[in-house]
Symmetry: C2
Subunit: 580 residues, 2 copies
């Protein structure tokens, strides 16, 4: 009971041993992460189409809940770019941005996603995430990065634009180019340029100026904060909001509110598939970050418990004015690098953000949206990695096809279709590959008990005996292939009296394959040809014993291929006779 | 050129060698099949919701076209029960039975299905049919048999009933029970009873009465014809059609007309998915019959050319007043047993049916629909085989689940959903099984070079070395499983210095698995643990060489597990030392 509670509430594991050193390390990490999260939270709310405070809210309760239920000691949970994009795409289909319905639908999406994650965790269905192959994920993240950057151009240019696909966004931007606000463009480009520069050059510069490494590090992480402060002051001081620069405006001051998601059947029906997609993608992203960081300290994370942690976080987001969240890559790395030792660092981060929500929100009134767009663009362009196309092309064409289809369809038709097509294609290509397994026709290496492919080695064969080694488990997708192959091979030679299937690489025989073997057996019997098996693995043999196949078999099961050869190849007989 | 023509027009293969013996054998087979097909064609037209002549038309041009392009020498093509049911279900969704639009939609369905089969044949996509696992097919055929029998009860009871699922049919029958026509019931039960009796007892009885075997055989096959004749005479003689017995009525006299299928975009869109389903199911059924019969004569059929033969047959049906067709089991067996030697038997059958269409149609005017329903019920109940549930339960739970879901959903929600769910479940269960591959931790059998599972054998191990044998190809569905497994195993023991993955059963490493191996390598390196591979197959090694994995590998690739052991297990050193 207590063990089970401990397993499901990892907090109980680390909290009793919590000490002063861990406390001070966690506090420092929390400070760094909080500074980084303030502009990031506002920016991802903008990306999701929500008011800026939603981003802060989505970073408070979820972090605390993950600290209680999650198993990673460094993962930082909150709004992330790809999930925010998915949120905008899903919610945009049921409500218009800026309406109350939109915010309510975002809450519903978070609750549905949290519920689905919890369900997967309780049912231990984390393996479902494995159906997202790495090429599909890589293609999807790259295409999402491009889509997100494109969607933020409107804020940099100061024009309206709509769309969830690249062609829609480009056309929409093109249609409004005459309304560009050049002051916004100047602010946006300055912020973008500064952020790119800071990312690459600020830390070396500060170090060269004599700043100690940790300080230089923190100041570099605070780059976005500097951009926020500078551009906010510029807008306020020069009254640029009067000259068409879009600003964040009034943000309510206070702790996250208790909110109720919309639960109408129509809304739930419209959001359930996007919620599943968000859950799975968020989970995959989060787990790979958590696993990488855990390995560095020889710790372990439990993927099924992670589902519960992320599920609780999303439920928390849904009831406190947020939107779907997951473990973010960059903030988790910052948290880890800054020395976070336990999930308490997350709790302190949440405290910091709560203080910001109460005290600092009036300060962002004059913050231009262009600056937030700049922080998003700089962040997501680091996700764009087209080299995956080259790498998979060099490695395997099937993987390349999965990447290319995912990228093209995500950009061209939207995130849901892109991912769905990528997953479907991966599965189809896998089934296709295993549906035509490698089958080697074997001969005996002279004077030995070894058997090798007759097309690659100089081996002995016997005209009455065909020995085939199947290099794949037998299941429905390749069962009929084997039927055709054997039928073809046996009708080629009139002298054939026996067929031996060497099963050394067959890990499974499903019912379809069993029926195919039965059909092969009957057909060979009708032709007067015997069917034999050799080197069948234990579990496969157990299975076959549960059917009538072995009793109906018009032949034998040999322990080794060599035994089959000595019994079935007449040409081996003289040798055997001479041995007597 | 000529070879390619010969391959695609198998007629050119057998026609030049055609002789008098083959001619007389084919003629006899054609006669038997024609007698059997006349009532069957009328009945399957009724099942498809079409006028009776459509069944005759669908048996003429398609048979001839298959004789030219098909590769089986005994397959008899025409309307079959399951495809007729699928036709009724698909066409019923776009038009009402009895309207001109219904017949036109059936033509469209045949043309679409023919086009899709041709396309699959030309692109050599026959392997797609393999995704229908045997349990799904068996479950689907059984459920279809039940559905078809239920759908024919209305003709036996003489009441109207609608529906494409078992609950719909049962409720609809129940609602009209007060309108039962008892004369129809009497006729229908008499016909059904006679057909069941004839199937089991007529042949032994005729033999006992001294009839020679071939005659007894033909007379038994003609059982349905006898039922048709007797009940038609009864209706005509007693004027039962005046007393509410539904009859076939006027059937146009003449050869199949040239018809144009409907080609409006809406109609095409509505029918394209059902057409694909019909193509695939018809192809699978047809190929398995053809293969079984070909094997009996040590002949071979070419599945891709079969697609072209069936495609041509369906196009023929679509342009000559028919509906979708495929190779039927019972008629093909009859054709084979009656001695058909070449596809010419099919051409003669088509001639026989053409004569029937011109000369015999007035004779079926008074044929009661209840008799046709009886022939359908008797035919399809032989398809119902619930023993598949027991067989798969005993063999493997996953296969049982696929059968059960297919049967329940086909009966409860209709044929399309039933098959789609069955296919999806088969694929998911396959991915699930391979997503958790068997991984054995290995130890050395003392004094040998063999390594076995430490949990099954008494073997030597070394506390610093973990050797794992993965019994499955590595691909996206199990890549992360391996990451988790290794992480878990390595964090359990603090002494571990090296991990060896034995790849003897790994036939493939896809890009996802490559990235997982890279992640495992980095994480183990962070923990100060080496990663090694042993017994990697040639093609897998070739693949790995195309990536950077081998250069980044924090360890070595060993030719054999024994070599890895001697190099990495300190405890093996003393033995080696003592050997010196």
């Amino acid at each position: 009971m207590i063990r089970s509670l401990r397993r499901h509430v990892p907090l109980l594991d680390w909290a009793p041993a919590y000490d002063r050193t861990a406390f001070s390390n966690d506090m420092i990490a929390a400070l760094v992460v909080t500074i980084m999260l303030i502009p990031q939270s506002l920016a991802y709310a903008l990306l999701a189409g929500l008011p800026p405070e939603a981003g802060i809210y989505a970073s408070i309760a979820p972090i605390v809940l993950y600290a209680i239920f999650g198993t990673s000691r460094a993962l930082a949970v909150g709004p992330v770019a790809v999930v925010s994009l998915l949120t905008a795409s899903a919610v945009g289909q049921v409500a218009d941005q800026g309406t109350a319905g939109y915010a309510v639908a975002a809450l519903t999406l978070a609750v549905l996603s949290g519920g689905f994650l919890l369900l997967m965790g309780v049912l231990r269905l984390g393996f479902l995430a494995n159906f997202l192959s790495h090429p599909v994920i890589a293609g999807f993240i790259t295409a999402s990065g491009i889509l997100i950057a494109a969607s933020q151009l409107k804020h940099i240019l100061g024009i309206p634009a709509e769309g969830h696909t690249l062609p829609e966004l480009v056309l929409s931007l093109g249609a409004h180019l005459d309304r560009i606000n050049w002051i916004t463009v100047a602010l946006g480009l300055a912020a973008t340029g500064f952020l790119f520069w800071a990312r690459a050059h600020l830390k070396p510069l500060l170090r060269a100026m004599g700043a100690p490494a940790p300080l230089a590090d923190i100041l570099t992480k605070a780059g976005p904060v500097a951009a926020v402060v500078a551009t906010t002051l510029a807008v306020w001081g020069l009254g640029l909001d009067q000259r068409g620069v879009a600003i964040v405006g009034t943000v309510p001051q206070g702790l996250p509110p208790l909110t109720l998601p919309g639960l109408s059947p129509d809304l739930l029906r419209a959001l359930v598939l996007p919620a599943i997609l968000i859950s799975v993608i968020g989970f995959v992203e989060s787990v790979s970050v958590a696993q990488t960081l855990a390995a560095k300290k020889r710790q372990r994370i439990d993927p099924d418990q992670e589902l519960i942690g992320l599920g609780a976080a999303n439920l928390g987001a849904g009831f406190t004015g947020g939107f779907p969240v997951t473990g973010g890559f960059s903030r988790s790395v910052v948290n880890f690098d800054a020395g976070a030792e336990t999930p308490a660092a997350g709790i302190f981060t949440a405290l910091g953000l709560a203080i910001a929500a109460v005290a600092l929100t009036p300060l962002v009134h004059y913050l231009p949206k262009a600056t937030l767009a700049a922080t998003i663009i700089v962040a997501v362009l680091s996700l764009v990695d087209l080299s995956i196309l080259k790498k998979t092309w060099g490695y395997a064409r099937a993987d390349f096809a999965a990447v290319a289809v995912t990228i093209v369809l995500t950009l061209g038709l939207g995130v849901e279709i892109g991912v769905a097509a990528g997953v479907a294609l991966s599965v189809l290509l896998h089934l296709y590959r295993t549906s035509r397994p490698h089958v080697a026709e074997l001969g005996r290496v002279p004077g030995t008990e070894h058997f090798r492919n007759i097309h690659r080695h100089s081996v002995e064969t016997d005209p009455t005996l065909v020995s085939l080694r199947v290099d794949e488990s037998l299941y429905f997708a390749n069962a009929r292939f084997l039927e055709d192959l054997i039928q073809k091979r046996v009708t080629e030679g009139c002298d054939i009296r026996n067929v031996v299937l060497m099963f050394s690489a067959v890990n499974e025989v499903d019912y379809s394959a069993l029926e195919s073997l039965e059909a092969i057996n009957l057909r060979l019997r009708d032709m007067g040809v015997g069917l034999h098996l050799s080197e069948v693995k234990g579990p496969v043999m157990d299975r076959l014993h549960r059917s009538d196949f072995l009793t109906a078999l018009n032949g034998q099961v040999f322990l080794s291929q060599y035994e089959a050869w000595t019994r079935l190849a007449p040409s081996s007989a003289p040798a055997a006779a001479s041995a007597i």
